[in-house]
């Protein structure tokens, strides 16, 4: 077997580690991998162009930016902060746990586009988490502020990933079904999606307790 195409993977790892421009790293890796895999350089460029074009739908979500930007211009983030600052019982930990539940349940019902980093995390969840953290821990250092934001983004990811597979009509479930079918095992999507529930519960318990622990840790530094 020809193991040379793996050099392309090594290139990606090294490139990311050395923090070169990721677009450059990825394009170079594609060219190197393709050529080492025995393809003609022109054929690699063609494959890259075709795949880039076929995946345009991924970048379509940027059309939300004009609306979000317009609302930010009129104080959306500030309003989100005020709203949370007013709620006595809203701590950052509880707020993010609530968002985690919300994200897991909506994703499990097939509504995966209801959250997301451009649509909800930047304009709403992150500023709300920051405001809640400030309310209970006074001013945050830059480091702590960044960590709160990063946790808000992480909560969106965990909620989505470990909620969506409970929904049976989701791409990953259909992929599992397809792979098993080609190997002679006929399964229904529902048979698969119920087995996503135990992991979903673990994900909630683990990430939820990490959020609450993070909140306590922020507090313990101050008091």
């Amino acid at each position: 077997m020809n193991y040379w195409p793996l050099a392309g993977i090594a290139l990606v790892v090294v490139g990311f580690a050395l923090r070169f421009n990721p677009l450059l790293v990825v394009a170079l890796s594609a060219l190197v991998t393709g050529v080492l895999g025995g393809l003609d350089p022109l054929a690699v460029i063609e494959a890259l162009g075709k795949a880039f074009n076929d995946n345009r739908y991924i970048s379509v979500t940027w059309i939300v930016l004009p609306v979000i930007g317009l609302l930010e211009r009129h104080g959306l983030q500030e309003r989100a902060r005020t709203l949370i600052a007013k709620v006595e019982s809203a701590t950052m930990g509880r707020l993010l746990v609530l968002y985690l539940v919300f994200r897991q349940i909506t994703a499990a019902l097939g509504m995966k586009d209801i959250g997301g980093h451009p649509q909800t995390v930047r304009p709403l969840v992150a500023p709300m988490a920051e405001a809640a953290a400030e309310r209970s821990h006074a001013d945050l250092t830059t480091r702590e502020r960044e960590r709160v934001r990063a946790m808000a983004a992480a909560t969106d990811n965990v909620g989505l990933f470990f909620g969506e597979d409970i929904f049976f009509a989701i791409a990953s479930i259909l992929l599992i079904q397809g792979v098993f079918e080609t190997h002679g095992y006929a399964l229904t999507p529902l048979q698969l999606s119920v087995w996503a529930i135990p992991t979903a519960i673990c994900a909630f318990a683990i990430h939820g307790s990490r959020l609450l622990a993070f909140d306590r840790k922020l507090g313990s530094v101050r008091r």
Binding site: N2, P5, G8, V12, N21, L23, L24, S29, T33, G37, I45, E46, G49, K50, A51, F52, N53, D54, Y57, S59, V60, W62, I63, V64, L65, P66, V67, L70, H74, E78, A80, T82, L83, M111, D113, Q119, T120, P123, A126, A150, A152, A154, D156, N157, V158, F161, D165, I176, F180, H183, Y185, L187, Q191, L192, S193, W195, A196, C202, A203, R210
Partner: protein, 317 residues
């Protein structure tokens, strides 16, 4: 029928506007680079379906050349000051959330209506693309609502959009580029090689170690590809089916479903999953581009342990 192509034109219009506005922005020292980058992307959205694969490939290389040589700058279109925003937020109140919520609500309610009512039989929207198309519809609703209510300058949404887009910069197309890299990897046979390697390290006869290698293989390959979808067919045919199912008689749905979720733990810890891990770091102005990954790593590793245990305990009763 409303197809994805309509959405591409809408997106192309936004990128074309950002290109033109960048060109006119003399305060940005790198305005030519910005204009070229967003302009090429607009071209990709408008004409991608009609260009040859080679032309699309050259377009990709041009985008990479502009970004890779640092030709994109961060513009600073005039906007409201922080003090003005606090005042506006106080005046406008919680109604500010309405346009923001219109987008996801339209997408969700629309998808549900379309899927569960006879509306779906009308064939109005391209099959399987309903949610994405409805997201676009939601954006248009929200935009009209916000414009009529707030009465900002006519160009404000595009200028504010450009401010956000320029802060995200080249990272905006990284997810799409990584998907394209996946396509090239598949063509070059990377999947078969990794599957071959994985099947070699399986310890003979040990159920627990086989489960462990299956899950770690899902994680490792997902970390490399940035996507569990690429890892699953490889690991299922290398270990999941021949060893766990055939040799040890494991429960098929458990091995499939939880194996995929083990891969998702890998998605949480890799910069290759750019749209989940790198783009939000940029979007939230984090100085550490790996900040989101650091925040997630604890959850990912603990959950991986759970997934290994779940397969071991549930699949072989």
């Amino acid at each position: 029928m409303i197809t994805l192509e309509w959405l591409y034109i809408l997106t192309g219009i936004a990128f074309a506007a950002w290109s033109v506005l960048s060109l006119r922005d003399r305060s940005n020292g790198k305005r030519w680079g910005n204009a070229a980058f967003w302009g090429l992307l607009a071209g990709s959205f408008f004409f991608g379906s009609y260009l040859s694969d080679l032309a699309n490939g050259v377009l990709v290389l041009a985008l990479v050349a502009i970004a890779g040589t640092g030709q994109i700058g961060r513009s600073d279109p005039p906007t409201t000051s922080p003090a003005m925003r606090v005042a506006l937020a106080g005046k406008l109140g919680n109604r500010l959330f309405v346009p923001a919520l219109v987008i996801p609500v339209t997408a969700v309610a629309g998808t549900l209506l379309y899927t569960w009512t006879p509306l779906g039989e009308s064939g109005l929207i391209e099959p399987r693309r309903e949610t994405l198309v409805l997201l676009g519809v939601g954006v248009l609703f929200a935009l009209v609502l916000a414009m009529v209510w707030l009465r900002p300058p006519l160009l404000a949404p595009l200028e504010e959009g450009r401010r956000l887009m320029d802060s995200i910069s080249w990272a905006a197309i990284l997810p799409q580029m990584l998907a394209a890299l996946g396509g090239v990897f598949a063509l070059a046979g990377v999947g078969e090689i990794v599957g071959d390697l994985a099947s070699r390290v399986i310890p003979e006869g040990s159920l627990f170690l086989s489960v462990l290698v299956y899950c770690l293989g899902m994680v490792a390959f997902t970390v490399i590809m940035g996507n569990a979808f690429a890892a699953f067919p490889v690991m299922a045919s290398a270990i999941g089916i021949p060893v766990l199912i055939v040799q040890f008689g494991g429960n098929v749905p458990v091995i499939g479903a939880i194996g995929m979720l083990a891969g998702f733990c890998g998605t949480l810890i890799t910069p290759m999953a750019a749209n989940f891990n790198i783009v939000p770091a940029v979007l939230l102005d984090l100085r550490d581009q790996y900040g989101v990954i650091r925040a997630q790593a604890g959850t990912a590793l603990a959950l991986l342990v759970c997934n290994v245990a779940l397969i071991y305990l549930l699949a072989f009763r």
